[in-house]
């Protein structure tokens, strides 16, 4: 069965129930629970070292590849326990975009054909799907005349949009974004932000960011993580308005007010 019929479809809710990530004896994050409604964008904010990226990597099981890493708790996509999915099937449904743009050192078009080929999408469909993904991220008109040039020749912002297109080409239903704008200049950052805003409704989005203003602009809900002792934890998960205007937890108020962090 093609990836595009197996994955795709309407976005599911993403539910984390008591998720913990440990690296040997060190606990990166403990007992994290949150719920992202279908098609919503949740921003995950908090100081460095509070386990935000570890939490993302627990969702698509990237953490499993780290020596000594143990993940506990339950991750659900809609009604389905993600642990029941194979790693490939899970990562087809849950795309990921990283902090640094990291296109493969292949041509622009091959960056999109490659994952499709890996997931056995028929050859005749690949170029159509690649073009669609490039259109979805607003990159088609910028690169249509240099599809066979190296992806590394693109600007930083274009590379990051290509990476988003690479994640989207497999038709995931959930997208994990790990500080997708933090390595970009302000202009590119704004373009990527607009792109992320346009993805809301079609994908369930969980975005790590240090930029509170960005979280305020983009997010429907915000989860605040904090470090207690040497262990990360979730202190509050609420709507964007609630977190920024009437936070329930004093740490949230102090962090969002810029008093700590």
């Amino acid at each position: 069965m093609s990836v595009l019929t197996e994955a795709g479809g309407s976005p599911p809710s993403l539910i984390l129930d008591g998720v913990s990530v440990r690296y040997g004896e060190r606990v990166a994050i403990q007992g994290a629970s949150l719920k992202v409604a279908p098609g919503e964008l949740m921003a995950l904010v908090g100081p460095s070292g509070c386990g935000k990226t570890s939490l993302l990597s627990a969702i698509n099981r990237m953490a499993e590849g780290v020596p000594g890493c143990r993940v506990g708790g339950v991750v659900r996509l809609g009604d389905r326990d993600a642990s029941g999915l194979g790693r490939a099937a899970l990562r087809r449904q849950v795309g990921m975009v990283f902090q640094q743009p990291n296109p493969f050192p292949l041509s622009v078009i091959d960056n999109l054909r490659f994952p499709l080929a890996e997931h056995r999408v028929p050859r005749r469909q690949r170029d159509t799907l690649a073009e669609q993904a490039l259109r979805d991220v607003g990159l088609w008109h910028e690169v249509k005349d240099r599809l066979t040039q190296s992806a590394l020749s693109l600007s930083g912002g274009q590379q990051q949009r290509l990476c988003i297109a690479r994640a989207l080409v497999l038709a995931p239903r959930v997208l994990l974004l790990d500080e997708p704008c933090s390595a970009l200049d302000p202009v590119s950052s704004r373009v990527v932000e607009e792109l992320i805003a346009s993805l809301k409704g079609r994908y369930t989005l969980l975005m790590v960011t240090h930029n509170l203003a960005q979280a305020r602009r983009l997010a429907d809900t915000v989860t605040v993580c904090w470090v207690e002792g040497e262990c990360g934890c979730v202190v509050e998960s609420n709507t964007c308005e609630q977190v920024f205007q009437a936070p329930e937890h004093p740490i949230t108020a102090a962090y969002c007010g810029g008093e700590v962090g």
Binding site: F98, F104, P105, L106, D110, R113, F114, E118, H119, L170
Partner: protein, 276 residues
């Protein structure tokens, strides 16, 4: 240009001279000694009168055979071992330390020891005798540590961000290795191959023990054959009046090394891999 910048530029020439000058001196000395013997006929004719007359065609042919056997074994085995080390063995682990120690020990082993082992194992035990096959296989054992180490370094140098992107897309192990890892490490791997070729072409002791030194053209890989380095040694040390032809052969050897170096570098100079 500022005065201090001019000084810095002038000083920068010194290391360049220190590297290039010995090479130039060596080539000049070889050219002076061997230029009269060099001609097209020298390359195309077989040696006569123990090398005092004729050319080095049969020696070139034997060298090509030996090098082919050596690389046919060393490149795939070296690549496989390096892939295992870079993909499966965690750097700093006990296994990495043990394997690293073994490789360093092998790399530091004198070539004459490989020659003795090659003679005992390939020529006697496996019954291959003094042959191109024995020589090529013994040489491949000798260059393997170099090939593995340089390839491993090239593979470990591929950015981690590519690996993470591939993992996030659930790219298969084969897809990762064939489409991203190897194309990106190609220039580093090529350096390993070039160094191995250089070491194999320059080797004499191993081949004296295994490939022999008969001057006739080999009919097959089971025939004995004389490599360029052995021919240079023999002409310079054992054949009265052979110095000029030894120098001419050395010039051919250097030209061969440079050509192989340029060829391999051109082959791997690709900014990105082909079409999916």
């Amino acid at each position: 240009m500022h005065r201090s910048d001019r000084w810095a530029a002038a000083l920068g020439v010194i290391p360049w001279l220190l590297v290039v000058a010995p090479l130039m001196l060596l080539l000049a000395a070889l050219w002076q000694q061997g230029q009269d013997a060099l001609s097209l006929a020298f390359l195309l004719e077989d040696p006569r009168r123990a090398g005092r007359a004729g050319g080095i065609a049969s020696v070139l042919l034997s060298t090509g055979w030996i090098l082919t056997v050596c690389l046919a074994v060393a490149v795939p085995v070296g690549l496989g071992c390096a892939l295992f080390l870079s993909e499966e063995v965690h750097p700093g682990s006990a296994m990495a330390r043990r394997l690293g120690f073994a490789l360093d020990l092998l790399a530091a082993t004198p070539s004459v020891v490989f020659g003795l082992f090659g003679y005992q194992f390939f020529a006697i035990t496996l019954g291959l005798g003094f042959s191109i096959l024995s020589g090529g296989l013994a040489l491949s054992l000798m260059v393997l540590p170099l090939m593995i180490r340089s390839t491993e370094q090239a593979l470990r140098g591929v950015p981690l961000s590519y690996r993470r992107a591939a993992e996030a897309l659930a790219v298969s192990r084969w897809g990762w290795v064939s489409r991203v890892l190897l194309p990106n490490a190609a220039s580093g791997i090529a350096v390993g191959v070039i160094l191995s070729v250089g070491r194999a072409l320059a080797e004499t002791a191993v081949l004296l023990f295994t490939a022999g030194y008969v001057l006739r053209r080999p009919d097959s890989a089971f025939d004995s054959g004389r490599a360029l380095s052995v021919h240079i040694y023999d002409m310079a040390m054992n054949v009265p009046g052979g110095t000029e032809r030894a120098a001419a052969t050395a010039l051919v050897l250097v030209a061969l090394l440079v050509s192989i170096n340029v060829l391999i570098r051109r082959l791997v100079r690709r900014p990105f891999a082909g079409v999916v």
